[in-house]
Symmetry: C2
Subunit: 402 residues, 2 copies
């Protein structure tokens, strides 16, 4: 069968809304040229979207030959979307308006080892608080996206991993959150969401790139020509299971020496806590719930010149670098973005060491020089990507006709 490509299944109105979100202001003529849709269809669809209150004519006009053309733009306050990124230690909630601009955000403690039902109840409280404090009317919310680690059954809205507790495996997360919020809820992989967020932030200089998302754990994503690589079941780029130390620590997956088990912040913090001098000096807490906070303490100490903290982070960065070389070799990419809350302070050090390794070892280094970038928004690229995914996939309700 002949593939009809990446736009298959995306309706013309949603494609036009995407274009308006990316371009901010654009004329009907340019929409037709960019979307490959006839001008008559564009005129009709735009009229429907204006009737639905999501598109309006802007103040600017396009300067060109012939009659000036009124530019179109999205109505930012028409609808809103919620992005929620969670792992055991971190919850970040953002609200984006219909133009895809963040209007509110909150960073909170993660659910720790709460049951999924209790975690969802807590999430709903966080979302309610944020909506209230930002004065966003509840009936204007299109939906929410729960952004978290994998493996996931994305369609069914479930995790396929017993983290943080056995109860989470297969629990209907999306359905439960949807019922509790009274809104449609999508489930999305954290690294993939971060990649969607990074594209919208617009600082990545290429439309084909890889991404590491690091919070307590580490995940990967790859974007090719602007489209996230999803594979068979949207569980692609499980970089945490690349083996970098065959005789090493046993990973949840059953293998020894996966880069996740060796180098993720939770593992680095645990190693640090085993050194009494270091643990006391940096006031490390040594619990899973404090894993990311302890990692941040280590990163600050390393930045301040602490040799022991530096040594631990360097070992983690070097292991990650080996996994990134594999990612570059398998996906044929030359650019990687580091994002996620673990890179808040540790970003520059990881960037330097990973870049050194890929420049030395990636098979494609002769074709183009590998480069590693740090996200402009390590804390919120992932939940922002989730909110954008809601805007891009849930159509705005049409007004009652007549």
């Amino acid at each position: 069968m002949v593939s009809v490509g990446a736009t298959n299944g995306i309706s013309t109105p949603m494609r036009i809304l995407d274009l308006l979100r990316a371009e901010k202001q654009i004329s009907r003529v340019e929409i037709a040229a960019r979307s490959g849709v006839t001008q008559a269809t564009v005129t009709n669809v735009v009229k429907t979207l204006m009737d639905a209150g999501v598109v309006r004519e802007g103040t600017r006009e396009q300067l060109s030959r012939g009659a000036p053309r009124r530019m179109l733009e999205l109505v930012p306050a028409a609808w809103y979307a919620i992005g929620v990124q969670i792992d055991s230690t971190t919850t970040t909630v953002v609200i984006a308006d219909y133009a895809g601009i963040r209007v509110a955000s909150a960073s909170l403690r993660g659910p720790g080892s709460l049951s999924p039902a209790a975690a969802i109840a807590e999430l709903v409280d966080h979302v309610d608080d944020l909506l209230l404090s930002a004065s966003i009317p509840r009936e204007r919310i299109l939906g929410a996206c729960l952004v978290t680690y994998g493996p996931q059954d994305r369609e069914a809205g479930k995790l396929l991993t017993p983290q943080p507790t056995d109860e989470w495996y297969g629990f209907p997360l999306a359905t439960s959150l949807s019922e509790a919020l009274g809104l449609p809820v999508l489930l999305e992989n954290d690294a993939t969401a971060a990649a969607i967020g990074e594209q919208a932030i617009g600082l990545v200089p290429t439309s084909t790139f890889g991404l590491l998302f690091m919070s307590t754990g580490v995940g990967g994503a790859v974007v090719v020509d602007g489209v996230p690589y999803r594979g068979r079941s949207s569980n692609a780029v499980e970089i945490d299971h690349v083996v970098v130390n065959p005789g090493g620590a046993v990973c949840l997956c059953g293998t020894r020496g996966c880069v996740g088990a060796e180098a993720q912040p939770l593992a680095v913090s645990a190693l640090a806590f085993e050194r009494p001098g270091l643990a006391a000096r940096l006031d490390l807490r040594g619990t899973d719930d404090e894993g990311l906070a302890d990692f941040e303490r280590l990163a600050r100490a390393a930045r301040g010149g602490d040799a022991e903290a530096t040594e631990l982070l360097a070992a983690s960065a070097d292991y990650l670098g080996l996994a990134v070389v594999t990612m570059f070799n398998l996906f044929d990419i030359d650019t990687l973005v580091l994002t996620g809350p673990a890179f808040r302070t540790a970003g520059p050090m990881y960037r330097t060491r990973i870049e050194e390794l890929v420049r030395e070892r990636a098979a494609g280094r002769d074709l183009s020089q590998p480069q590693i970038l740090i996200s402009a928004d390590v804390e919120q690229a992932a939940p922002m990507g989730g909110a954008l995914q809601v805007l891009r996939t849930i159509p705005p309700p049409t007004p009652p006709s007549g």
Copy 2:
């Protein structure tokens, strides 16, 4: 920018020819339905293709409501394409007719450590011999595809690796072969070509799968929804550089313990030759030129119960299995095809051991059971994929008008 998807850049006539090649016989109505092109356009394009002598009305009629519809088919003898797969020890030449059916093939010694110019002169002789013996008129050849290892600059038709000798790095292979044959010549990665060939053979039960191509070395490919994953520069899935033994042998890429350096047939044969008893017993030759033949001797001995040969192949299969787990985890696939001449005899043993490892370790094993398949044509899937790539990308010349 909104992506216009995988069909971007493929003209309507080439898309219709692809459909005819895949379906053997198909009506105009069905072409319109399958290609998303209007019936009027299909009628016009089909007329042009019939005038060019590449499409004809078949004998079968479509039985359906209304008037019976004449089925269309390709004219097999309209044009031919050449696929040539080389590595140092093997040269395989195939000729496919315009319907994509193999009409002639030859397996020959590879160029060894000849200079690229001498290797090309030898290739041209092989191609001439095959054309002559199969009585295929030279003026009916559309073009040729040179299928070999990477990394490559595919656009420029050059290898970016000093194999088998330094002279090969950057040598204009495609241009030189094109001049010598008097035909357009494409360059293609061997594993990617094999994946295209496997799809045409039609035994892979899914349109999303991975592939290992093993000759003297080992390469990888991934197909997603029927389209080969190419990455940034068509050098994707360099699986030979997945590190499986960090303290191990130094690879050409500079890293230690790459799966290529540890487990490819050339490495297995070299290890075997270091064991005097085994080398004498199996009459191993111990030279690079005989690397694949020695590997075949080992595979036959292992099949016959030789414990030492079995041990060496098992170690290689287990290393490859680790790299395949990484491939499954990063690309989110559940199916892998083993192809290439090294799997002639060793295929079943590698299949069993690799399958055992991925079923035990792949992160997505709970979502669907991983399976490893052996190609129905380990010897020729790669050069056949090359010939198909010529048919699919080089338009048939149009007859002079009037």
